[in-house]
C-alpha cells in the first residue's frame, strides 16, 4: 500500500478558506457538515499579538483509529493512496469512528445517519486530479505528495496546538509550523 500525505505551510496560509468552500461545493455539504476548517488562534496582548491559522482536516492516518473501531468494515483505507473513506452502503451510522478519531475528523450526518468525512477526493484522484482543497489553495500552502517525501523534509511536524501524539494513529498531515509559533 502506498501512502500519500498533505503538507501544510502555516507561514503561507491566508485563512482565505478557498479549501473550505471548494470542499463544501465538491461534496455538496450542508451547513454543519464540514470535512475541513481553518482555526484562528492568537496569543499576546494588543499591539504585540501573534496570530496563526491551522487547517483542520482528516489526517488519513497510517494507523487510523476510525478504521480500527468500525464494526462493519465501512471505514476503509484506499490501497493506492492510503486515503481513508466511508463505504456508505456498509455504514450503519453507529458513530464508533467519530468517537475514536482523536482529530474530530469524522461526523455522523443527521440527515443520512451515516459517517461522513474527507475521502481525499478519491474520485478526482482516480481521474488524475488533485484533492479539491489542494487544487483550490490560493496561496499554495497546501500540497499533496507521497508521504515518503514528507518524511525526508526537515522542519515538518505532525502535531500542533493541542493535537495528540502522532504515535497514536500516525497521521499524514504534515505541518510546517509558522515562524515564531510554539509548536
Amino acid at each position: 500500500m502506498s501512502q500519500k500525505g498533505f503538507r501544510y505551510d502555516m507561514n503561507k496560509c491566508l485563512e482565505c478558506r478557498a479549501c473550505v468552500v471548494s470542499c463544501k461545493d465538491k461534496n455538496d455539504l450542508p451547513v454543519g457538515v464540514n470535512f475541513n476548517s481553518i482555526e484562528e488562534r492568537e496569543r499576546g496582548k494588543f499591539p504585540d499579538v501573534y496570530v496563526w491559522f491551522t487547517l483542520k482536516m482528516c489526517r488519513h492516518c497510517s494507523k487510523p483509529a476510525c478504521v480500527e473501531k468500525c464494526p462493519t468494515g465501512a471505514m476503509t483505507k484506499d490501497d493506492d493512496t492510503g486515503m481513508v473513506y466511508v463505504k456508505e452502503d456498509v455504514c450503519i451510522g453507529c458513530g464508533m469512528c467519530a468517537k475514536a478519531c482523536p482529530y474530530g475528523a469524522v461526523q455522523i450526518r443527521d440527515d443520512k445517519k451515516k459517517a461522513a468525512k474527507c475521502d481525499g477526493c478519491l474520485e478526482l484522484q482516480r481521474r488524475g486530479e488533485l484533492p479539491v482543497c489542494v487544487a483550490s489553495c490560493t496561496s499554495r500552502c497546501l500540497t499533496y505528495v507521497d508521504v515518503d517525501e514528507l518524511k525526508k523534509e526537515d522542519g515538518l511536524v505532525r502535531a500542533v496546538n493541542d493535537d495528540v501524539s502522532p504515535n497514536l494513529t500516525e497521521p499524514n498531515l504534515y505541518y510546517k509550523p509558522k515562524k515564531g509559533m510554539k509548536a
Binding site: C13, A18, V49
Partner: protein, 763 residues
C-alpha cells in the same frame, strides 16, 4: 489564477433555493404606494412578466407626466459597459434624476487630479515587479489577504523574500500583517493625517546633511507649497505646509505628542517610524482607499503626497506613495491588455449634469425635498420613484436607516435582481434577472496584465431575463425605438470587445491585436464582424477563460510612475495648474468649497470627521468620554464582494462576521466571547455575535461590510450592516463618510449564527 472562496460558492448564488424565480409584487402595493411602511416586511405575490412590465412602464409614465422626469431617481451602474440598460430607456424617455460622487474611493477619486494631474485606479504605484526593489514597505490600512488576495499577497511575499521590511499600520492586527509584516503599528480609524503630519514634523526637525531625511532637491524642483519660498502664483506665502506643521500658522506644532493623542500611535513609535521612513531609501507606502473614506478627508490625500515628496519616493525604483486597491492592488502601470469598445454609444440624460445630486446625501434629499447644488445653493427634489438596476445601495451607502425611510416615502420602488438583496427587499416590484453565468458572457479588463472572458454556463433559470430584454420590453411600452434602446445585442457587444482587444507588443512599443478570429468563429458566435489576425486564437481564449501577459523581471513592461516628471519636470510637467505636484493645491480647495458643504483647505490641514475619534468624547481636551465612546470601523471581509454572495450559507458558515472587540473594552461592559450584542448610536442599532480579540485596537470595534440589512421587531438590524451606524455627512468635492461612533451592550434576545438563518426564499 485560482478562484477565491466566493468563486467556489457561486453555485449557491446562481442555483440556490433563494434565487428569485418570477416577477413579483408587494402584496399591499397599489398605485400611489399603498401602505408604504410595509416595504421591507410585506408579503410577495407572483405576477406575470406582462403585468410587471406594465406596472413599471405605467408608473414611469405617470410620474414623468405628473411630476417631471426628475421625479424618477435611477440607481444604475455601468459595469464594464455591460450594464446601464435603464440609463438608456429613461434617457430616451425624457430623463431621470441621477447621482454623482464617490462611494468607495473617498477623497482619492477627485483630489488626485488637482494635486497630481491624473485620477486613476493604480494611482502612483510602480510596476508590481518593482516591489522587490523597495527596502521598506508600509501597508497603510491595507489588508490584501482579506480583500485582494492572492496576487497582491504573492507580490508582497516576493518583496519580503527579496529583503524588504514590511510594516503594517492599521487599527487591527490584520491577517496580512500576521502573515508578512515585520512590525505592526496601531492607528485609530480616520486619524491618518495626524500621523502623517507628525512624521513630517520629525523629519523637519531632524533632517541634517549627515542624516538626510528630506529630499530637498525633489521638493524644490517638482513641487509647490512646501515652504514660503516655493508657493504657487497668487497663494498666500504664510499658507505653506512647513509652517503649518511647525505650528507657525496656528500656534500648534504637529508633534508626535500632539498626533498620538488623536491617532493613538505611541509617541516613541511615531518618532521611530518617521526616522525609519526618512532614512530608508526607497520606501513604498501602499494605502487603502479607506484612509480618505471619511468626511473632509482631502487632507489625507494632500498629506500622503506631501510625505511622498518630502521623502522623494516618487519616480524612482522601489519608491512610491500610492493607493493600492481592488484589481490594481500592488499593481501600477498602464494596462498591457484591454478589451475593445462595446460599440454602444451612451444616451445622454436630457437632465443636465448640473441637476444631479450627490450620492452622499441622496437619501436625505428624497426625505427633505432639497439637495445641495453648490456653494450656498439648494435645489428642490420631488422624488416619486426609486429605480434600482445593478444596485445594492440600501446596504452599501452611508446611513442605511435613512435609506429605508426614503424607500418608504416614495410612491414606487422597482429593482432588477436575482436574489432578495437589500434593494429588492424594500421594493414594490422585483424583476428577476439572469446572473452573469446565464448571459452571453462578459469581457473584463481593469487588471494590468489580465483580460477575462466569462461565458454562458447555463440557460436562464425559471423566468429570469437579461436586463437588456427588460429594457427592450419597457421601451416597447413607452413607445421607444428598440434600435435606440439596444443598438447592439449583448452577444455582439462581447464580440466587439473581443475583436477590439489589444495587447502590448513584446518590446512595449505599442499595442497590437490580441485575437485571431476566423470567419467560422464569427458564424459560430452568430455575430457580425470581419476575420482578423492576432496573437492568440479565439478558441484559445475561450478554453483558458483569460489571457495573461507573460512577465519577467526587468522586461520591457517594467514601470516606474512619474519617472520622466522627476527627471525633468519642466519638460514633462504634470497636468496640474503649474505642472508641479501641488502640496499647496488651490484648485482642490476651490473644488471643495464650490461643492457647497465645507470650506476647502489648500494644504494638508487636519480636520476631524464629524463622527471621528474626537467625537467619542464629550470633552476631548479633558479626556471625558461621551455617550458613544467607541469607534466603529467597517472592513472588507472575505465573505462577499460587498453585498454579493452574501446569501451563500457556505460563505456565512466559513466567515461568520462577528463584531470584533478588544478584551479591554469587553470586560468593563461585562461582555464575553460569543455573546449577542447590540452596537448602537443615534443612527441605528446592529445586532451581532461578539468575538473578543487582542487583534483589535482598544476603543475600536470592527464590523465586516456587505451583509444585507434585516430589521427585527425592535427595529434593529440583525443582518450586520455597518451602514446602519453611519450618518449623512457629505463633504466636498463629493466624499462619502463611513466613519462612525457607537456604544456596545449585551442584547437580551439570542441570535442564531448567520449560517442558520432562514434563507430569503419567496417562491
Amino acid at each position: 489564477m485560482r478562484a477565491c472562496a466566493r468563486g467556489h460558492a457561486q453555485r449557491q448564488q446562481v442555483a440556490g433555493p433563494d434565487r428569485l424565480k418570477y416577477p413579483m409584487k408587494r402584496t399591499h402595493w397599489e398605485h400611489g404606494g399603498g401602505d408604504k411602511s410595509l416595504r421591507g416586511r410585506d408579503t410577495w405575490e407572483r405576477i406575470s412578466w406582462d403585468e410587471a412590465l406594465d406596472i413599471v412602464a405605467s408608473e414611469i409614465k405617470i410620474s414623468k407626466e405628473k411630476y417631471g422626469p426628475k421625479s424618477i431617481f435611477l440607481m444604475d451602474e455601468n459595469f464594464n459597459n455591460q450594464g446601464g440598460e435603464i440609463f438608456r430607456v429613461l434617457g430616451l424617455y425624457g430623463g431621470y434624476m441621477s447621482k454623482y460622487g464617490s462611494r468607495s474611493r473617498g477623497a482619492w477619486r477627485q483630489a488626485m487630479k488637482p494635486i497630481l494631474g491624473y485620477d486613476r485606479k493604480y494611482h502612483n504605484q510602480n510596476d508590481r515587479l518593482d516591489l522587490v526593489k523597495a527596502k521598506l514597505i508600509l501597508l497603510w490600512g491595507s489588508n490584501p489577504a482579506w480583500n485582494s488576495y492572492p496576487s497582491a499577497m504573492n507580490n508582497l511575499i516576493r518583496a519580503k523574500e527579496a529583503g524588504a521590511k514590511i510594516i503594517a499600520i492599521d487599527p487591527m492586527y490584520t491577517t496580512t500583517a500576521s502573515v508578512i509584516a515585520d512590525e505592526y503599528i496601531p492607528i485609530r480609524p480616520a486619524t491618518d493625517t495626524p500621523l502623517l503630519l507628525a512624521m513630517a514634523y520629525v523629519m523637519l526637525k531632524e533632517d541634517s546633511p549627515e542624516k538626510p531625511m528630506i529630499d530637498w532637491d525633489f521638493l524644490n524642483r517638482c513641487t509647490v507649497g512646501f515652504d514660503s519660498e516655493h508657493m504657487p502664483e497668487g497663494a498666500d506665502p504664510k499658507m505653506n505646509f512647513k509652517d503649518y506643521v511647525l505650528g507657525n500658522l496656528d500656534g500648534l506644532p504637529k508633534t508626535p505628542e500632539w498626533a498620538s493623542k488623536i491617532c493613538g500611535t505611541p509617541v516613541d513609535t511615531i518618532y521611530r517610524l518617521a526616522r525609519e521612513v526618512g532614512l530608508t531609501k526607497p520606501v513604498t507606502a501602499l494605502f487603502a482607499w479607506n484612509s480618505a473614506r471619511a468626511d473632509k478627508a482631502t487632507h489625507v490625500c494632500l498629506a500622503q503626497m506631501t510625505l511622498a515628496a518630502m521623502t522623494g519616493n516618487m519616480g524612482i525604483p522601489g519608491g512610491a506613495f500610492s493607493c493600492s486597491c481592488q484589481e490594481r492592488s500592488t499593481e501600477g502601470g498602464p494596462a498591457l491588455v484591454a478589451p475593445g469598445s462595446t460599440g454602444v454609444t451612451a444616451i445622454k440624460n436630457p437632465i443636465p449634469n448640473s441637476e444631479r445630486m450627490c450620492a452622499n446625501e441622496h437619501w436625505r434629499a428624497i426625505l427633505t425635498g432639497k439637495y445641495t447644488a453648490g456653494q450656498g445653493a439648494k435645489k428642490d427634489l420631488d422624488c416619486h420613484i426609486i429605480y434600482h438596476a445593478h444596485s445594492n445601495i440600501v446596504s452599501q451607502t452611508a446611513n442605511t436607516m435613512e435609506s429605508i425611510e426614503a424607500h418608504r416615502k416614495v410612491d414606487f420602488v422597482v429593482t432588477h435582481q436575482f436574489l432578495l438583496n437589500s434593494c429588492a427587499m424594500f421594493s414594490d416590484v422585483v424583476l428577476p434577472i439572469t446572473t452573469p453565468w446565464e448571459r452571453d458572457g462578459m469581457v473584463l479588463g481593469g487588471a494590468r496584465e489580465v483580460m477575462i472572458w466569462t461565458q454562458k454556463v447555463i440557460d436562464p433559470l425559471f423566468e429570469a431575463k437579461d436586463d437588456g430584454w427588460i429594457a427592450l420590453e419597457l421601451g416597447k411600452r413607452l413607445g421607444l425605438d428598440p434600435k435606440e434602446v439596444e443598438p447592439v445585442s449583448l452577444k455582439q457587444q462581447n464580440f466587439n470587445m473581443l475583436a477590439g482587444a489589444k495587447v502590448a507588443k513584446p518590446d512595449n512599443s505599442g499595442m497590437e491585436t490580441l485575437l485571431t478570429i476566423t470567419a467560422e468563429d464569427i458564424k459560430a458566435m452568430g455575430v457580425e464582424g470581419e476575420p482578423q489576425k492576432g496573437r492568440i486564437t479565439l478558441s484559445e481564449l475561450r478554453e483558458a477563460g483569460s489571457y495573461q501577459v507573460p512577465r519577467k523581471m526587468d522586461d520591457a513592461f517594467y514601470y516606474v510612475n512619474n519617472k520622466a516628471f522627476r527627471e525633468d519636470p519642466e519638460k514633462n510637467p504634470l497636468k496640474t495648474r503649474d505642472g508641479k505636484l501641488q502640496i499647496y493645491c488651490g484648485e482642490l480647495a476651490e473644488m471643495v468649497t464650490k461643492a457647497g458643504w465645507n470650506e476647502g483647505k489648500p494644504i494638508a490641514i487636519y480636520e476631524p470627521s464629524v463622527e471621528g475619534y474626537e467625537a467619542t468624547f464629550s470633552d476631548f481636551e479633558k479626556g471625558i468620554k461621551g455617550k458613544y465612546p467607541l469607534q466603529v470601523c467597517s472592513v472588507h471581509v472575505p465573505r462577499g464582494a460587498h453585498g454579493n454572495v452574501s446569501n451563500s450559507l457556505w460563505l456565512r458558515e466559513a466567515f461568520p462576521i462577528p463584531l470584533l472587540m478588544n478584551p479591554a473594552d469587553a470586560e468593563p461592559r461585562g461582555l464575553k466571547e460569543d455573546d449577542t450584542v447590540k452596537v448602537f448610536n443615534d443612527h441605528g442599532t446592529v445586532v451581532r455575535r461578539l468575538h473578543v480579540t487582542e487583534r483589535v485596537m482598544p476603543g475600536v470595534v470592527m464590523l465586516g461590510e456587505g451583509s444585507w440589512v434585516q430589521l427585527n421587531e425592535d427595529g434593529y438590524d440583525i443582518g450586520g450592516c455597518p451602514n446602519v451606524l453611519t450618518g449623512t455627512f457629505p463633504s466636498g468635492p463629493d466624499i462619502e463618510s463611513f466613519v462612525s461612533i457607537a456604544e456596545v451592550a449585551k442584547y437580551d434576545k439570542p441570535s442564531l449564527p448567520d449560517a442558520l438563518w432562514p434563507q430569503r426564499i419567496i417562491f
